[in-house]
C-alpha cells in the first residue's frame, strides 16, 4: 500500500467512527446542548467523508450550510430558551423507548440489506475533481432546474411563514383562529424617558 492510500484508509476509519459514535450520542445524550454541539461534529465528519470522495465543493457547502448556518441557529435557539424546567414524567416511557428503538433497528437492518444486495458498480465513476464546481452549476441550471427552483420556493414559503408567526401583532385578528389578536408590538420609545420636574426622582432618593 502506498502512503496516500494508507492515509485515506486511516482518515476514513477515523471519520466514520466519529460519525457513527457522534450521531448515536446526539440521539442518546440527555443534555440537549451537548447533542447540538455533537451534531456540529457529525456534520463536520460528513464533510470530511465528502473530501475523501474528492467532492471538495460539496464538502465546503456542507460545512457552510449545515455547520455554519443550521447548527448555529439550532444552538442559538437552544441558548435563547435554555430554561431549566422539570417536565412531567411521560406515562409508559419504557414502552415508548422500546418501540422507537425497534423501529430504528428495523430501519437499520433494512438499509444494511439494501446496501448488501445492491449490485454497486465498482470501481465507481472517475472523480471529476476540481471541475466538479462547474459540473454542479451546469446541472443546477439544466436538468435539475425544477428541483432547484422548487427548493427556493419552499425556502420562501418557510420564510414568509416565519415572518407571519413572528409578527402576528401587525394583524388585527389571529390568522389561524380568527379571534382578535391581543398581542401588541412591544417596542421601546425612541426618545429617552424624562423624569417629571416635580417628581422626587424615586431612583436617586436615598436616605
Amino acid at each position: 500500500m502506498t502512503v496516500a492510500s494508507t492515509t485515506q484508509l486511516v482518515c476514513f476509519v477515523i471519520l466514520s467512527s466519529t460519525l457513527v459514535l457522534g450521531s448515536l450520542a446526539v440521539v442518546l445524550l440527555p443534555n440537549i446542548v451537548y447533542s447540538a454541539f455533537l451534531l456540529a461534529g457529525v456534520f463536520l465528519s460528513v464533510a470530511g467523508l465528502y473530501l475523501l470522495l474528492n467532492a471538495s465543493f460539496v464538502a465546503a457547502a456542507q460545512v457552510l450550510v449545515y455547520v455554519g448556518a443550521v447548527n448555529v441557529l439550532i444552538l442559538f435557539a437552544i441558548m435563547l430558551v435554555n430554561k431549566k424546567e422539570n417536565l412531567d414524567p411521560i406515562p409508559g416511557m419504557a414502552v415508548r423507548r422500546l418501540l422507537s428503538a425497534a423501529v430504528c433497528a428495523g430501519l437499520l437492518v433494512l438499509l444494511i440489506r439494501v446496501a448488501i444486495t445492491t449490485p454497486w458498480a465498482l470501481p465507481g465513476p472517475i472523480p471529476v475533481g476540481e471541475d466538479a464546481t462547474i459540473r454542479i452549476g451546469e446541472h443546477l441550471f439544466s436538468d435539475y432546474l425544477l428541483p432547484f427552483e422548487l427548493a427556493s420556493v419552499l425556502l420562501l414559503m418557510s420564510m414568509i411563514g416565519a415572518i407571519v408567526l413572528a409578527r402576528r401583532d401587525v394583524f388585527s385578528s389571529d390568522i389561524i383562529t380568527g379571534e382578535p389578536a391581543d398581542q401588541i408590538l412591544i417596542e421601546k420609545e425612541r426618545s429617552p424617558m424624562l423624569l417629571e420636574p416635580n417628581d422626587p426622582a424615586p431612583l436617586r432618593s436615598s436616605p
Partner: protein, 383 residues
C-alpha cells in the same frame, strides 16, 4: 485533504515553483517523488503557521503604537527598540499565567471553545497566495473554503459563551453568533461578484485575472462597492471596533472572554489577530491585485532588457510578490487599527440594521450589476 489537493501546474513563465525544485533536489539524493512530496508537505504549513504568529506579534505592536499615536501618547518604549519586544512580553505573560477554569463552568466545552475558534482561522491560511506557486495548496474551491471555514467560528464562540456559566459570556457568545451570521451573507455575495468576474473560485486564478496592466487591472476599480461591502463585513467578522459588540467591555465586561485567563485567553487573542491579518490578506487578494506590483513586472523586465524566465528575474519577482502581498495587507491592517481607535461602537440594533437592511440589498444589486456588465462588456469584466 490529501486526495484532492492539486499540484499547482503554474505556467512555466510564471514565477518559482519551490515544490518541484525541492522534489527534484531530493530525487537527486535517491528519494522517490512520493516520499519527497511527503517530506515537502509539512514545510509550507510550518512556514505559514510561523508567519501567521509573527504577523500577530507585528499586529499587536502596531496596535499599541498606533493607538498611542491616536491618543497622543508614546506607547511601549522600553521593551526593545521602540518597544518592539512588548508583544513578546505580552505573549510570555499569558503563557505563564494560571489557567483558571471556573468551578461551575462546563470544563470540557470551556476548553474546546477557544480551540474551535482558532483552528478554522489557521486552516484558512491554506488558500492565501503569496505568489504564483507560493501557497500551501491551490485548492479549486479556494475562497469558498475560507467562507465555509469562517462559518465554524461562531460555534466555538457560542460554546465558550455557554460553558463559562456567566450571563455576560452567554450574551457575548449570542451576539457573536448573530453578528457573524448576518455579515456572512453580504460578504459571500461580494466574493461571488469577484468569482463571477474571474470565472474561478481559486485564489490564484482571482489574482491572475487582475494582472496584466498593473494597478489599473485591480478589481477595486471594477468592484468599488464590493470592496467597501467586503471590508465592512470583514471587520464585522473579525469583531473589530466599530462592530466589537460581542466583547463590548463597557456593557459585557469582555463578552465570551470574560471567564478566560492564561493560554485559553491567548488563543482567543491569537485567533482574532490572525483573523484580522487573514482578512486583510484576502482583501488584497480579491481587490488589490494580490502579489501584483502596481507596475507590471513583465514590462519592467522588458525595460531592463531581461527575460521574465531568467532565474534571477524569477527570484526578484517572487520576492517582490511576497513583499507586495504583505505590504498591502498591513496597509489594510493599519486602516483597521486606525478605525478602531477613532470610531465609536455601533449599537446592536444598528449593527443588524446595517447588515440586513443596507449591506444585503446593496450586495445583491452589486451582484446583479456585475452580471449585467459581464454580459455587456465581456472583455473588461471577465468573459
Amino acid at each position: 485533504m490529501l486526495s484532492n489537493t492539486v499540484v499547482t501546474e503554474g505556467l512555466p513563465s510564471m514565477g518559482l515553483d519551490l515544490q518541484s525544485s525541492f522534489i527534484e533536489a531530493l530525487g537527486g539524493l535517491g528519494l522517490g517523488p512520493g516520499m519527497a512530496r511527503l517530506l515537502w508537505l509539512p514545510l509550507p504549513m510550518l512556514l505559514v503557521l510561523v508567519s501567521a504568529v509573527v504577523g500577530v506579534l507585528v499586529n499587536v505592536w502596531l496596535e499599541r503604537k498606533i493607538s498611542a499615536a491616536a491618543q497622543q501618547r508614546i506607547g511601549p518604549e522600553y521593551a526593545g527598540a521602540l518597544g518592539l519586544l512588548q508583544p513578546m512580553a505580552d505573549g510570555l505573560k499569558l503563557l505563564f499565567k494560571e489557567d483558571i477554569i471556573p468551578a461551575r463552568a462546563d470544563s470540557l466545552l470551556f476548553t474546546l471553545g477557544p480551540v474551535l475558534v482558532l483552528v478554522p482561522v489557521i486552516l484558512s491560511w491554506l488558500v492565501v497566495p503569496f505568489g504564483q506557486n507560493l501557497l500551501i495548496s491551490n485548492v479549486g474551491v479556494g475562497i469558498f473554503l475560507w467562507i465555509a471555514l469562517s462559518s465554524i467560528q461562531p460555534i466555538g464562540l457560542l460554546m465558550s459563551g455557554y460553558a463559562s456559566n456567566n450571563k455576560y459570556s452567554l450574551l457575548g457568545g449570542l451576539r457573536a453568533a448573530a453578528q457573524s451570521i448576518s455579515y456572512e451573507i453580504p460578504l459571500a455575495l461580494a466574493v461571488l461578484a469577484i468569482v463571477m468576474m474571474s470565472n474561478s473560485l481559486s485564489t490564484v486564478d482571482i489574482v491572475n485575472q487582475q494582472t496584466g496592466s498593473g494597478i489599473l487591472s485591480w478589481n477595486i476599480w471594477r468592484q468599488p462597492v464590493g470592496f467597501v461591502i467586503f471590508w465592512i463585513c470583514a471587520l464585522a467578522e473579525c469583531e473589530r471596533l466599530p462592530f466589537d459588540l460581542p466583547e463590548a467591555e463597557e456593557e459585557l465586561v469582555a463578552g465570551y472572554q470574560t471567564e478566560y485567563a492564561g493560554m485559553k485567553f491567548a488563543l482567543f487573542y491569537l485567533g482574532s489577530y490572525i483573523n484580522l491579518v487573514l482578512s486583510a490578506l484576502l482583501v488584497s487578494v480579491l481587490y488589490l491585485g494580490g502579489w501584483g506590483f502596481p507596475v507590471p513586472v513583465e514590462w519592467l523586465a522588458g525595460l531592463l532588457g531581461q527575460s521574465v524566465d531568467a532565474p534571477l528575474v524569477q527570484l526578484i519577482t517572487g520576492a517582490v510578490g511576497i513583499v507586495m502581498t504583505i505590504l498591502k495587507a498591513y496597509l489594510l491592517v493599519f486602516f483597521a487599527i486606525l478605525l478602531r481607535w477613532t470610531v465609536p461602537r455601533v449599537r446592536i440594533d444598528q449593527l443588524l440594521d446595517l447588515g440586513w437592511k443596507f449591506l444585503l440589498p446593496i450586495a445583491l444589486v452589486n451582484l446583479l450589476i456585475t452580471a449585467a456588465l459581464k454580459l455587456a462588456f465581456p472583455s473588461a469584466f471577465g468573459g
